[in-house]
């Protein structure tokens, strides 16, 4: 009752009529609109973050800009946290998610993933002084994760004895690790590598745990038009060697020696 009252008092009336049709943003509609709205991270170097000049940069951002360019529209970035990537699509806040979004069976049910553009698996980072190298060392201990990540999902379902400390953002989780609020932190291994490069006191003790996984762009469930377009786009970018270039410019400077391009980029 109250909700309906609120809804009608907003400026909805004008947009409501067109909502049914725009609840999916087809490629046509995006082109007509002239902008594509893309969900990205704002605090996850080197994938999606904001540099000190205030510019959004990173591996995902370069891809996002390329996609916009190929669509001949302007990109509009919406910063999200891991746990609202799905809602951002479903509530039609964005057309596309390029926020380190790992493909999982659960997620496949609620959004449509395009062809993947990156490989990952879950890694665990811990202080060098007290390294965690096996999952068994985590039993009964606090492990830091971000809400809505595959790391959280993996430990919740497969390692129920690990106590999870769940944060909203990447900033918060890394700060928490530095404050020793948990014995280790689990997240996608690739940017754990990046992170430890600048944090000599920490090491990625478990390089990979759980299944190998892929990161892919996601669109709202049923948005066939954009999905197909994106699939083609990823293939064509791959053919052009875009992802290698992206890797070299955005990721390489952040990664240590232990990471090879083939660990990340899908050939």
């Amino acid at each position: 009752l109250v909700l309906s009252g609120c809804g009608s008092s907003s400026k909805s009336s004008s947009s409501a009529s067109s909502t049914k049709s725009t609840s999916q943003s087809t490629v046509q509609q995006i082109k007509k609109r002239g902008t594509i709205r893309i969900a990205v991270f704002g605090d996850l170097p080197p994938y999606g973050w904001v540099n000190k000049q205030g510019q959004r940069v990173g591996y995902d951002l370069t891809l996002a800009r390329q996609i916009a360019k190929d669509l001949k529209v302007k990109p509009k970035f919406v910063q999200v946290n891991a746990n609202n990537r799905v809602d951002a699509l479903n509530s039609n806040k964005v057309d596309l998610v390029l926020a380190n979004f790992t493909v999982t069976p659960e997620r496949k049910q609620v959004v449509d993933f395009a062809s993947p553009y990156m490989k990952v698996s879950v890694g665990v980072v811990s202080p060098k002084s007290q390294p965690i190298t096996k999952a068994s060392q985590l039993q009964g201990k606090n492990l830091i994760v971000t809400k809505g990540t595959t790391a959280e999902n993996y430990f919740t379902s497969k390692q129920p004895n690990v106590k999870l400390l769940k944060f909203d953002s990447k900033t918060q989780q890394f700060n928490a690790l530095k404050n020793n609020r948990g014995v280790a932190l689990a997240d996608d291994n690739s940017y754990l590598y990046a992170w430890v490069k600048d944090q000599p006191k920490y090491t990625v003790g478990i390089k990979s745990i759980g299944p190998k996984q892929y990161i892919a762009p996601a669109v709202k469930k049923g948005n066939k038009s954009l999905l197909n377009w994106t699939n083609k786009e990823v293939t064509s970018l791959n053919n052009k060697g875009f992802f290698d270039k992206d890797y070299n410019s955005q990721l390489k400077p952040y990664f240590g020696k232990e990471v090879k391009p083939s660990d990340i980029v899908i050939k």
Partner: protein, 229 residues
């Protein structure tokens, strides 16, 4: 270490960006307050009308916004409403809307309280010279209620401004979200930067809210003095 940490603020455009974030915060708060206060006055007046049904509905509205934490309201409006109702607004507008509706709810209670505490004989002397209900509100009750309610209103304003800190949870690039970006981007270079970034945000909020609180307090004190003769 602590010395170098403060420099995080002067790296690149960090400080300017923080102020930019603050501006977003202030802008949302300001628009929401203007809309919310006006709507609140109207609802507050309606809540003093005799119609039981009207009063009940408005009371329900108030309690809804009172009981549900603002965090939850923001999520409801940002993610659920679009799916259920087909209403879709960008984050800043959702934030403005939520804060406006919330402000209106709280304001309606303040206004109602002030209206019913205008002495009864004021209402009656208005009626005795033949004023209609609308005239009674327009010339007698609302002007008097406004001065009664001003301190409470200012306090509401400070609360709204403080609560804008929750905007970071729905993709609004407010000062705290920018702060997190800054912290993350400069983490390795300035390990103590987190202290300074959150420190300056702390100060920013204080600098905005403190003068308002002070003003409200002073007015309350004056009124108390007047009441005590």
């Amino acid at each position: 270490m602590a010395h170098s940490g403060i420099n995080v603020l002067f790296e690149g455009r960090n400080l300017i960006r923080l102020f930019g974030g603050l501006w977003t915060t202030v802008e949302i708060a300001a628009v929401a307050l203007v809309l919310g206060l006006i709507l609140g006055v109207v609802l507050g007046v309606l809540r003093t009308f005799p119609s039981r049904l009207l009063r009940f509905v408005l009371r329900l509205y108030l309690e809804f916004f009172r009981i549900i934490p603002t965090v939850v309201l923001l999520f409801l409006f940002y993610y659920i409403l679009p799916k259920q109702m087909g209403v879709n607004l960008p984050a800043n507008q959702v934030a403005t809307l939520v804060f406006a509706l919330w402000t209106a709810a709280e304001m309606s209670d303040i206004v109602r309280g002030a209206l019913i505490s205008v002495p009864k004989h004021q209402r009656e002397s208005g009626m005795a010279i033949g004023l209609s209900r609308w005239q009674l509100y327009r010339y007698v009750l609302i002007p008097q209620a406004v001065s009664l309610e001003l301190p409470a209103t200012i306090n509401l304003v400070t609360r709204v401004i403080k609560t804008t800190s929750l905007l970071m949870l729905i993709s609004v690039m407010d000062v705290i979200n920018v702060g997190q970006q800054v912290v993350e981007a400069n983490n390795q270079k300035y390990p103590t930067g987190v202290f300074w970034v959150y420190g300056i945000i702390f100060v920013m909020y204080f600098v905005i809210d403190y003068p308002l609180s002070w003003w409200a307090k002073r007015m309350d004190k004056k009124r108390l003095e007047r009441a005590n003769g």
